[in-house]
Amino acid sequence: MKHFIFFLALIFSGLSFFYFNKEDKVNVVEDRTIRIYASASFVAKWGPGPALKELFEKQNIFKVEFIESPDVAMTLQKLNFEKQNASADLILGLDQFDIARSAAKIEWRTLPALSDDMISEVAGALKSQNQFMPYDWAPMTFVGRQDLKVQIDQLDDLLKPELKGRIALQDPRTSSPGLQLLIWIFETKPTEQAIVYLKALMKQAHSFSAGWSGAYGLFKNKQADLVFSYVTSPIYHVVEEHDSSFVSIEMKEALPIQIEFAGIPKTCKNCEGAEQFLRFMASQEAQKIIMNKNYMLPVIERAKEATEFDAIKVYRTLPIKFYDQEKIEKWINQWTEIRKNEGL
């Protein structure tokens, strides 16, 4: 047995030596490298990251290094800890809620005007702040199949008895889309009515998943007839699966919008490169890549011309707002209370 251990130790030290040496050669971060934190689906081969990197590096002297961000909340907390030692030059994938939460904790660089033809829906986001650049967006609504028997025109229609237990929703305590739906309800109805509505909606919900993927999985598996998702979701099925049976539903109420922002922390090391990359992200070529790979709408109008995305009807949307933390917590608490009292 001693020999067995000796062999193990030998193999282990050999492999360690090999990898330690290899790392020294590979992980030399060049001065021209822009370190960008982005989500796994952005960095993945089927996401926009690789194509953006390739195109950007062709056009510029900078090199792009994507670092997968486990969760925006964790990345922001890490930035907050590292302060001056933080290595991030650019953070992608921030939403309205992240911006509000991080405002007090992290200092961000003020951005110059990076594009002058932003579409009206997202341009509003730039009026109240100049530290974050929107790079894609989509209104959120309910997505169903074309053979859905129930006519849905407004939020109240979701309470029809045929839909009892047939709507896949996300938990607002753990999911950004779930929070969007909750805020949408509170924004479009007076508080008392919103609470009554939420109570009724609990019975219509098939389930509240921890994240968007859980709810969408249930919907795809036909466990639910409707799911709260993006108006762009059906485009994925048309393009990738050649299935045009999915539809996003237009509502009488103006829809909430999910915008993805990019921001440069003040502690950036290659700030010039990060700004250059942001400028590039606002270009028509980059916007097309993001749109096609992320299945979200571009922030500049011309990018979607003559594509499947041009056919998407962008329904009436709510103006973008950055909510106070206290307000969000109050709504969450109300939701939790209703859910808790729902019984077994």
Partner: protein, 490 residues
């Protein structure tokens, strides 16, 4: 071994420190915050406890007839069935949820729903555990009882239950803990009772960005589980015996139950695979990336397995020397997100950093529960032999290598097979670590989070194949090392 117990051992302390690394990191960076909403925390605690307790009772109860069902099978079906029983442990939780929702329609949301999903997810694992434990403990009691014709039920009441009591209790506690610390299942199927402590921890991070509060909640949860494990899972040092099959250990109705369970779960999974066949072309197009991710995964896994073996040897050495099991065996449910975040904070984002992070976190999270599941009892059973060796002044390393490890080869292999499959299929830990190295588990997660459910199904099947080949490789290596060892010895 009381006479040989050491009051303090440096190795014991070092081992405990290793498993406490995430806690120590959090202590350094965050203050404890007891400004909790106690009513909310109590509600979450009650929900977690109720769901976990009922599930643990049902799963432990059902695993008995199912394990008797396994004993009706002969090899290779015996081995194959045990592999299939592990399927729910291997697949992402979302798959199990989808399969159960398809099986039970309309699905009863709420506590009942949670218990159904938990039962389906953990029954296979519990059955495998109990089958292994029965082989270790029952020896020829079944055969002797059969020869003396004591009657099946008398045998169960007078022999089986008293002998297997501590193993059944271990299974009960493990299932309880797995359910207690679960995150996604209570949310999806939970109804009003979807809030448990793990959800509260996540809420404090996602909504409030209050890491101190999340850390305090995790500490309370870990403390509760530590106490539970410490109080309930007592040492039972009956010696290991050779197993003799008997009619009393076989139960045809258990085989039927086993078949129904596997047919429903496996059938649900196969249905998902059949539906996913449309994405085969996409899967083929991504094959170069998948192979690359497999290479990364396997490279890290080699280190991971070696570190686990070294940890095990240190653990056994410490056990032989100090006469007691290390206290870190009670650290059974550290929050994944907090372990991930502590290393995410501390270790740089380089490929080498990824290796460290992955190996550290996975050993910290997987070693204690799997040690408890497969190795603790077999080790305890060697107590009298260790004592005899000590009386004869045999050196500790000789006891470890020639007496202990040689006799627990089978549980070590079972333990290794779980370590590898949990490693291969995990994405929750890797995601919370923020690793840059592409692994097959992370690929499955990014498929799930970008509309590509079908690709995730196909990838899960691929992971199963990789696992089987990995086990074969380990088995062959074991044989090769055995031959080398004999050569050196001679």
């Amino acid at each position: 071994m009381k006479a040989f117990k050491q009051p303090f051992s440096f190795i014991s302390a070092a081992l405990l420190c290793y498993f406490l690394i995430p806690y120590l990191i959090f202590l350094k960076y965050f203050n404890l915050d007891f400004n909790l909403d106690y009513a909310e925390a109590w509600w979450a605690f009650k929900n977690s406890s109720l769901q976990a307790f009922v599930t643990a009772v049902i799963v432990t109860g059902l695993s008995i007839p199912l394990s008797f069902g396994v004993f009706t099978l002969k090899n290779p079906w015996f081995a194959l069935t045990q592999k299939l029983l592990l399927l729910p442990q291997i697949l992402p939780a979302l798959f199990s949820i989808l399969i159960v929702f398809s099986m039970v329609d309309p699905f009863p949301m709420g506590t009942t729903g949670i218990i159904i999903i938990f039962t389906v997810m953990h029954l296979g694992f519990a059955t495998v555990l109990l089958t292994a434990a029965t082989q270790e403990r029952m020896g020829s009691f079944g055969l002797i009882a059969e020869v003396y014709d004591v009657g099946r039920f008398k045998f169960y009441r007078r022999v089986y239950c008293p002998l297997m009591k501590s193993n059944l209790l271990t299974i009960f506690v493990l299932v309880f803990i797995f359910c207690f610390a679960s995150f996604s299942v209570p949310l999806v199927a939970g109804g009003g009772r979807g809030t448990n402590l793990e959800v509260l921890i996540y809420e404090k991070i996602f909504i409030n960005q209050n890491w101190s509060l999340a850390w305090t909640l995790n500490l309370l949860q870990s403390f509760f589980i530590f106490i539970l494990s410490y109080l309930i899972l007592k040492k039972s040092a009956l010696p290991k015996v050779d197993f003799e099959d008997s009619k009393y250990m076989q139960f045809r109705l258990g085989r039927v139950g086993l078949f129904i369970y596997l047919a429903l779960y496996g059938g649900g999974y196969l249905m998902g695979l059949v539906k996913a066949r449309g994405a085969l072309a996409q899967f083929q197009a991504l094959l170069p990336e998948i192979i690359l991710a497999t290479q990364h995964t396997l490279k890290i896994m080699v280190f991971y397995i070696l570190i686990n073996i070294l940890l095990l040897i240190t653990w056994v050495y410490d056990y032989v020397k100090s006469g007691r099991q290390n206290s870190s065996r009670h650290l059974l449910a550290t929050s994944t997100i907090l372990v991930g975040f502590s290393f995410y904070l501390l270790i740089p984002e380089t490929s080498l950093g990824d290796y460290f992070k992955i190996i550290l976190s996975m050993t910290i999270l997987f070693f204690p529960p799997l040690f408890r599941s497969f190795l603790e009892k077999p080790l305890d059973q060697l107590d009298s032999q260790i004592l005899t060796c000590k009386i004869f002044n045999i050196s500790t390393s000789k006891i470890v290598f020639t007496v202990v490890l040689r006799q627990i080869k089978k549980p070590i292999f079972l333990w290794l097979s779980f370590l590898t499959i949990w490693f291969l299929s995990d994405f929750a830990i890797l995601k919370s670590l923020g690793v840059r190295t592409a692994t097959v588990g992370l690929m499955a997660e990014s498929f799930l989070s970008s509309y590509r459910l079908s690709l995730a199904y196909l990838l899960s099947f691929y992971i199963l194949i990789v696992w089987v080949f990995t086990l074969l490789a380990i088995y062959l290596l074991k044989g090769v090392f055995g031959v080398i060892n004999k050569k050196f010895a001679s």
